[in-house]
């Protein structure tokens, strides 16, 4: 993983929350993907991916999100993504129509409240 990206995982009331901060691109794609999938398999149940600290997301990052979404869909688990409307990466999620398949929330509190 490059020095600009970091993945942190926490568990809030049995909900896995993955905070991805910095940049996700082709240089750290594999490491980020591994960390996220690790978090996904760490516990059953819903998972939240928090992109509010993500500054840059290119097609490599989008691919990770779609892979995770497909994984959760196949496992019939709930996946939600947090990306504030003001975030620079939010538009990537709408262009790729990711938001039509995974619910996007403005804040962690908002996402947790829906669970």
């Amino acid at each position: 993983m490059n020095v600009w990206g970091a993945v942190e995982t926490e568990s809030l009331d049995g909900v896995q929350v993955v905070h991805i901060s910095g940049e996700i691109d082709i240089s750290n794609e594999k490491a980020v993907n591994a960390r996220v999938m690790e978090a996904a398999s760490a516990a059953p149940g819903p998972m939240l991916i928090d992109l509010s600290g993500t500054r840059y997301l290119d097609s490599a990052g989008v691919r990770i999100l779609f892979d995770v979404a497909a994984h959760f869909r196949a496992a019939q688990r709930l996946l939600k993504v947090i990306a504030p409307e003001s975030a620079t990466i939010r538009r990537v999620l709408t262009i790729t129509r990711f938001d039509e398949h995974v619910p996007i929330y403005n804040s962690l509190a908002e996402a947790l409240a829906t669970l």
Binding site: R55, Y56, F66, T96
Partner: protein
């Protein structure tokens, strides 16, 4: 970057000469030490390794100077011993004063100085210490002491001479090792091997030789890459000599010998003799006469029996002849140069293959379509590299035109390979006249089965120039921009779905929009709009601004976009751009366009 070191007050500072290499004077870049005066060489080696040597300098002196040193040392000793003789009546003890002087003379002055000092010491000791006391008679004590002293003095001087020779040899060996490591480093800097070879040739002069010629053999002809002489005034002479060297531009006999056998050719001493001259002898003689070369060494640049050229070096009278160690060094250098050339050539070949594949994967030139103007550009992330972006302009059988621009995630040859497969499939399916949603559906099905499955964003649209209507499906790609002739712009956000190749079931739909006649449709890849620290919305706004800023013809638009959005910063991702303008002049006047609805037109 040219790999060279500037020597400044003993500190080695690597300095960049920029990219322009022609005409660059390397005189100062050659490591400024000389293998034949190893003290300086050692000094610099010490600097390079930030070690300190305690200032012992071994000069290389001529025989007369050495004899003068011997005379001076002996004279001085004579006075000192004569003075001491008054206070110390026992002469034997005073003999020990001679030994350090003999050793010092041999070590600092050289072999001749050492031997002469020894001889003079023995004579003066005999005269001064013993002769007066015994009235020219030989005492028993004298008979034992003097031969013993002579023997010890001789052993001392020979040991010191040997030590000095070993130190010089080690100094030269270290110098060569250092030079070889510097040359290897220079050769590893770039795949542009001619630049590195020139640098290496500059390193040899004056560190290893007075002059150096580096030649490459290409297509059975020889050409010089570098001709360098310590004395810049003699470079021209050397160059003329090289050119007049029999067959210097094709294989001369002796050259062929070196090149073909891969053997080193060493001329330890060029004689003054004017006997029967072969072609080679005349070349050597003219070297001797024109630039005072005494000894030459020519090694092939050879690796795995492939000969790429040769390095020829020469030394004048002031330097030592090339010896066996020099020969081994030059051979190793030639081998390293050969490896660099082999690597450089194979890199160049691979790059050419990659570039050729890329150029042939992209449309060579846009097909001539009546009523359209087209402009397209492609910038790979790495210069000369390949990528996964592509565009397509397909004249469809029913007079409609298919436009596509896609982006395979990932980089390099893998992305390009998948792109090539998809591109062919897209054209094949599109030519069947299917609507965009069906084309996308088929491509997605195909992609899910391909071993190289990857996420692909793709926008495909079918434009009907007759009706100025567009049907499009956009699989996760940034929206195309329509620029109307009056400069108004509009993004086609319709028809969106997830990218192809993801494991999420996608529902592909066709969106239908109308555009104003003479509008230009701009398709682009995310490389144009994705920038760190800038939101996509800002990029979209910038794209619109740039589009509005001038003429809307495809050439002008593309040039503007390239100037303002591609150049100026490093390109992290491939950028593909396709702009197509549809002329309304295509519409036959007798056939009014039923579908064109001015009020619901291009602008919303």
């Amino acid at each position: 970057m040219c790999y060279c070191w500037a020597w400044d007050k003993g500190d080695a500072i690597p300095h960049d000469h920029g990219k322009v290499h022609q005409g660059h004077n390397h005189q100062h870049c050659a490591p400024q030490f000389d293998l034949d005066t190893p003290a300086r060489g050692l000094d610099l080696i010490v600097n390079k390794n930030t070690r300190r040597r305690t200032g012992i300098v071994l000069p290389d002196l001529s025989v007369p100077v050495q004899l003068a040193i011997a005379l001076g040392a002996s004279g001085g000793m004579l006075l000192i011993v004569a003075a001491l003789r008054i206070s110390f009546p026992d002469p034997v003890g005073l003999l020990f004063i001679y030994l350090p002087v003999i050793a010092a003379a041999a070590y600092f002055g050289g072999a001749a100085a050492g031997l002469a000092t020894t001889l003079l010491s023995i004579v003066s000791a005999e005269l001064l210490l013993f002769a007066p006391s015994f009235s020219f008679g030989l005492a028993r004590k004298d008979l034992i002491v003097m031969p013993l002293f002579s023997f010890v003095a001789l052993i001392t001087v020979l040991a010191v001479i040997r030590l000095r020779a070993i130190e010089l040899k080690v100094g030269r060996a270290e110098g060569r090792l250092w030079l070889l490591s510097e040359a290897s480093a220079a050769l590893g800097v770039t795949f542009e091997y001619e630049t590195s070879l020139t640098d290496v040739a500059h390193m040899m002069v004056p560190a290893f030789a007075d002059w150096c010629i580096l030649e490459l053999v290409e297509d059975n002809t020889v050409r010089s890459v570098a001709i360098i002489h310590t004395d810049p005034g003699k470079v021209n002479t050397l160059e003329e000599l090289w050119r007049s060297h029999p067959g210097s531009t094709e294989f001369p006999d002796d050259y062929a010998k070196v090149i073909q056998s891969g053997q080193v050719e060493l001329v330890p001493e060029i004689s003054h003799s004017t006997g029967e001259a072969s072609a080679q002898d005349s070349w050597l003689r003219s070297l001797r006469q024109a630039i005072g070369t005494k000894t030459t060494l020519r090694v092939p640049i050879v690796d795995n029996d492939r000969v790429f050229g040769a390095i020829t070096v020469g030394r004048g009278d002031t330097k030592l002849q090339f010896d066996h160690a020099d020969h081994i060094f030059a051979e190793a250098l030639g081998h390293r140069c050969a490896v660099a050339i082999a690597l450089g050539r194979s890199y160049r070949e691979q790059r050419e293959i990659a570039g050729w594949l890329q150029r042939n994967l992209l449309p060579q030139h846009s097909p001539e379509l009546p009523g359209t103007r087209v402009s397209a550009r492609y910038f790979p992330a790495e210069a000369g590299g390949v990528g996964g972006d592509w565009y397509e302009l397909i004249p469809l059988p029913n007079g409609q035109i298919g436009l596509a621009l896609g982006d395979v995630a990932g980089r390099g040859i893998e992305a390009a390979a998948l792109m090539g497969q998809l591109r062919t499939a897209l054209v094949a399916v599109a030519l069947d006249g299917h609507p965009p949603s069906v084309v996308m559906e088929r491509l997605n099905t195909l992609l899910q089965q391909l071993p190289l499955r990857q996420m692909v964003t793709l926008v495909y649209m079918v434009v009907s120039p007759k009706t100025m209507r567009i049907r499009l499906t956009n699989a996760g790609h940034p929206p195309p921009l329509v620029v109307a002739p009056d400069g108004t712009t509009r993004y086609l956000e319709e028809g969106g779905t997830v990218p192809l190749g993801v494991k999420i079931p996608a529902a592909f739909t066709d969106a239908e929009v109308a555009i104003a006649p003479k509008s230009t449709v701009v398709l682009y890849s995310d490389g144009l709009v994705e920038r760190r620290g800038r939101s996509l919305d800002d990029s979209f706004a910038l794209l619109e601004q740039v589009a509005r800023r001038g003429p809307v013809t495809p050439e002008a638009l593309v040039n503007r976009l390239v100037a303002e959005m591609v150049t100026g910063g490093p390109v992290h991702d491939d950028v593909a751009l396709l702009a197509v303008q549809f002329e309304s002049g295509l519409l036959p006047a007798s056939q009014p366009d039923q579908h064109w609805n001015p009020s619901g037109g291009a602008e919303e």
